[in-house]
Symmetry: C3
Subunit: 142 residues, 3 copies
């Protein structure tokens, strides 16, 4: 029988940049431990922050993500028209679209079935943000 | 009990650019209203158009998406070899890969559980396109 | 009744670049043929290789993907700090995040319900890599 779990919660507040939040997400859904096989979705309710899976060991990787996304999606590009909410706003929307608002993660034996080096990044693209709202939805067999 | 809904339909024809289509998608799947909890997938059957979730209020955000993606993925780059289908074709494939062909959206109480500012964008990357084919698949509990 | 299938396997080893692997993935999950309706996830366990759906016909499209991603995410950018694993390593992480580690594909009548031109790309971003680990998870009705 397939069962469902859905939980909405607020992450801690993070400064602009890329942050490893695997532990914080797992802590919110201890019920994941009951699923033998399934799929989990981690979804962010925002258009100026995003989620990705990437390298979980060396923190300079996250620094380089921030540097590269700032180079690839600059502030104050001459063609921006949506400028009323600050120089960091329109780039934040573009970065969020490039990285995505949803992570899909296979579940096996009560845990995220990911590679040894894969961790969940919260990608905070605004200079000043509150804690971001996340919904985790899991379907699977217990 | 988990139930499934799958519907394939054609969106209206849109000009090149980024377009808010939340309402048009919702209209095609009124059965979504019966799902108490679940996940919906919105999938596009094409390699030169894509889907993303982003800001649903100010239309200049969509204009800036078009400007920025044109700057980040230029036409007529000197290294393109796939040029026989027009200057807009290879950039369209690259933009589609960057944004993605699939949106995963949590479902709660009969509706898409998204943030207040999140809307579904059809990202049309070709100069001249027909209506794009979409499949919505929902699984969940009624 | 919703049933689940989950299989983890290793893809053939591919050189750096973009490779069409639809057939190789399908061959690993012949059980897909039993699902009348559902969703399949193809997930890669790595942070320096990724998956996308794109044009399956002209091989120069895949060449142009490699050229463009190399231009958009250069090696040896002056702001990279994570440089100890080689010039191709940090760009590989960034490319993987841009393209994503998970493909979600609707399933209908025992096959992937994709457009005529859509194929699964393995995006290999490292110069020297072993065969990559993939997990396919399918849920649906038989």
């Amino acid at each position: 029988m397939t069962e469902w779990l859905q939980k909405t919660f607020t992450l801690s507040r993070y400064r602009r940049g890329f942050h490893l939040v695997t532990g914080e997400v797992e802590q919110q859904v201890p019920e994941l431990g009951d699923f033998k096989v399934g799929i989990a979705q981690v979804f962010i309710h925002h258009t100026s922050a995003s989620l990705t899976l990437n390298e979980n060991a060396d923190p300079t990787v996250r620094d380089d993500f921030e540097s590269h996304f700032n180079a690839m999606v600059p502030e104050d590009a001459p063609y921006y028209r949506h400028t009323s909410e600050g120089s960091d706003d329109m780039p934040a929307h573009l970065k969020a679209a490039l990285l995505g608002s949803s992570l899909m993660i296979p579940v096996s034996d009560g845990r995220f079935l990911v590679g040894a080096w894969q961790g969940i990044y919260l990608c905070e693209h605004r200079n000043h943000a509150f804690g971001r709202t996340i919904t985790v939805t899991v379907s699977g067999q217990k």
